[in-house]
């Protein structure tokens, strides 16, 4: 029956396409099939208001999304609207493949009111406005309540420092079945990209990560080194974090697979974590010597310069960026809306998962923007590879950081 209903819908759709001389635009994004369905709902709501425009949603996983997109754009057949990750924005903008939305925005100047300014910052360039934020992600601390309860330990609080955090992680690292190998770790992190964890750690210790304009990677400063020392101690001295090889046995997310008591992540993890069997909650990031820090990153909309229907594309972006569109988005639970009015409304705060969703919004007060520059991906993987040699014990911290700076700077130079 389902199949027949589907066929009927497809047929009806085909008919309606023939009946009207509609404009069809494509919106491509990365994400899970669930996210695709939510976007399809938003698209249907949009189509109801604009009967002459049809929106086609294309969803792919992260890696293939970018691979496919490059080829589509290079081949002159880009999706009209596509999702952008702020750090990669410059890679695309600098190559002249994005449409300047400023002329549209000038006609609708109030559209930017009530949007968190830090999310707009990533998309602002001297030559115009080549993107608008769609939603944002701040990083918070996730903890497994069952593991804390079993160890009779108090839950993390907003007064926690990284010393408290490290001590707790050590206590939560256990060999539960007594076979001589650890089967519960206090904390997990991949250790590659600055998001979710080590960027925030470096900032909390007063360090900086990168200065793309000067082509300099800054993570070997004394402040940053002190921050990395904490991570290195947890990994190599306390052994309160699983190695990459150990982690691979379970899944790439140690918190999700229930072997790590704590993890750092953004709001994107909430739908996955909501399905697990244990109890968990969220807390703010711990404080370092220079206070609390987290990173904020946003996904955005861009319109392809080669789009055949820029007006229809803009109409869709405008809708998705509006209160109505953002309210729909808030309900998915993957991200935080960029409009203050929506982020503070029940649509976002009252999601099914009973955690303090406001924490992600409050985190903006102490958040640093995840860097945005051309060549981010290559820089990130060069730095991540070099850092990984520290976490495996192959290199000393000082050598690993020196290599990360050298490789990172080389990647920056290549992408000038």
């Amino acid at each position: 029956m389902k199949l027949r209903a589907f066929a009927a819908t497809a047929f009806a759709l085909a008919l309606s396409t023939m009946a009207h001389a509609e404009t069809t635009i494509t919106y491509a994004l990365w994400g899970s099939p669930t996210e695709g369905e939510v976007w399809a709902r938003i698209a249907r709501a949009f189509e109801a208001l604009h009967p002459d425009i049809k929106v086609n949603i294309q969803v792919a996983d992260w890696d293939s999304y970018w691979e496919k997109l490059k080829v589509q754009v290079a081949g002159g057949t880009p999706p009209d609207v596509f999702a952008m990750d702020a750090p990669l924005f410059q890679d695309w903008q600098s190559r002249g493949v994005l449409l300047d939305m400023k002329p549209f925005i000038d006609k609708d100047p109030t559209i930017l009111d009530g949007v968190y300014p830090i999310t707009l910052k990533a998309y602002t360039t001297a030559g115009g406005i080549f993107g608008l934020p769609r939603d944002f992600q701040t990083i918070v601390l996730y903890y497994n309540k069952d593991m804390f309860d079993a160890a009779k330990m108090p839950y993390p609080t907003d007064t926690w420092t990284y010393d408290d955090f490290r001590a707790a992680a050590k206590k939560l690292t256990l060999d539960k079945n007594g076979d001589g190998t650890i089967d519960q770790w206090g904390f997990w992190d991949g250790g590659y990209d600055m998001e979710p964890f080590w960027g925030a750690l470096v900032w909390a210790y007063g360090g900086e990560v990168v200065d793309p304009a000067a082509g300099k990677t800054l993570i070997s400063s004394p402040e940053a080194t002190a921050a990395f020392q904490v991570l290195s101690d947890m990994w190599l001295t306390d052994k309160s974090m699983p190695t990459t090889e150990q982690l691979k046995q379970f899944s790439y997310d140690g918190f999700l697979s229930g072997v790590a008591a704590m993890g750092m992540s953004g709001h994107w993890s909430v739908p996955d974590y909501a399905a697990v069997a244990f109890h968990w909650d969220v807390a703010p990031m711990p404080m370092g010597p220079k206070g609390r820090a987290t990173s904020v990153n946003s996904a955005g909309f861009v319109i392809a310069k080669d789009s055949k229907n820029p007006d229809a594309a803009w109409a869709f972006v405008k809708y998705a960026f509006s209160d109505a569109g953002q309210t729909e988005l808030a309900k998915i639970g993957f991200a935080v809306p960029v409009r203050k009015s929506v982020a503070e409304s029940p649509a976002y705060l009252g999601q099914a998962t009973k955690i303090d969703h406001g924490l992600y919004v409050k985190a903006l007060d102490y958040a640093h923007l995840k860097p945005v520059f051309k060549g981010y991906e290559e820089w990130s993987s060069a730095v991540g590879d070099a850092l990984a040699t520290v976490w495996t014990g192959e290199n000393s911290l000082a050598d690993g950081l020196a290599a990360a700076v050298a490789d990172g700077d080389a990647a920056l130079a290549k992408n000038k």
């Binding site: 650890i182 991949g190 990209d193 990459t244 290599a403």
Partner: protein, 303 residues
């Protein structure tokens, strides 16, 4: 040199009249493949290597800078070293082990066809699937290998960690290649006339002498061919290594040249740099093959 031995036929057909068109027609796909597929691609790759090109914006002439920059590219150099070390371990191990297995198989033993199947199975199985299997065998705490080691009172080994990854990867690749080499050597061994051995035995030759003076010289063409083939495969090895050493950020903890080309070209879209790396890889393979040919010439034709 069996590879391009002249045809056995004394009288080949000489095409006449319309037959010439048939000759052309029959060769057409291959000629197109050579012109477009291989040589066209080689020239195109060489051409691209002199540009900076991201596929999105017009290519910018870069002179020889893509080559000049290679030695300073630490990730490329790491891949190059990994590939060379890998080949240096993989090629001799594969050739020697598959030769040894083939010599064992050349005896009239009970269950020999079952052995043949067993040794050949890894060769035909998808490296992607078998690679997954080996990540499980090599896994850190719960892996099969470490479970066996701890059961015998040993300390678990971090098989895919930085110290062991190279050896672990070589083991899997050799494991997957023994079968192919074995079959080629077996064919060679079975073609050696039995009376050679009879004569040698009558002369009182020891087993070692028989190996040294009868078997190995007779197998020289097979060994040569197998060494060339294994070396080419070594420099192009991708599947097992990709699956076994993939890291959390989409990179590899043991990048090889092929992986570096894939990553530079298809993930970072720096086509010029990737092309330059591909050209270097080809040159290395050609140089290695030339060395083999030179050695073969020096040590003479098989006797």
């Amino acid at each position: 040199m069996p590879l391009w031995r002249k045809t056995n036929n004394v009288a080949d057909l000489r095409p006449l009249g319309r037959e010439r068109w048939w000759v052309l027609a029959f060769l057409l796909p291959t000629l197109l493949g050579l012109i477009l597929g291989t040589f066209g691609s080689i020239f195109a790759t060489i051409g691209i290597s002199f540009f900076n090109w991201d596929l999105l914006t017009p290519a910018i002439p870069a002179g020889i800078s893509n080559y000049v920059d290679l030695p300073a590219d630490r990730l490329f150099m790491k891949s190059l070293v990994n590939t060379l070390v890998f080949s240096a371990l993989y090629v001799p191990l594969t050739v020697v082990l598959s030769l040894a297995v083939a010599m064992g198989m050349n005896r009239k033993l009970w269950g020999i066809s079952a052995f043949r199947v067993a040794y050949f199975l890894p060769t035909v199985s998808s490296p992607t699937a078998v690679g997954l299997l080996w990540t499980w065998i090599y896994a850190e705490d719960h892996g099969t290998l470490n479970a066996m080691i701890t059961a015998m009172g040993g300390n678990p080994v971090s098989w895919l960690g930085p110290k062991m990854a190279m050896y672990s990867v070589v083991i899997v690749n050799v494991w997957g290649a023994i079968g192919g080499g074995m079959i080629i050597f077996l064919a060679g061994l079975q073609a050696i006339p039995k009376d050679y051995y009879e004569v040698a035995r009558l002369d009182g030759a020891t087993a070692w002498q028989r190996l040294r003076y009868v078997t190995l010289p007779a197998l020289a063409p097979s060994i040569f061919f197998q060494a060339v083939l294994t070396t080419i495969n070594a420099f192009q090895a991708f599947d097992y290594i990709y699956i076994l050493t993939r890291s959390g950020n989409g990179n590899s903890t043991m990048p090889t040249l092929v992986f570096s080309i894939y990553r530079t070209g298809f993930r970072f879209f720096r086509m010029g740099d990737a092309a330059a790396q591909a050209v270097v890889l080809t040159l290395i393979i050609f140089a290695m093959t030339a060395i083999y040919f030179h050695l073969q010439k020096r040590w003479g034709e098989p006797g």
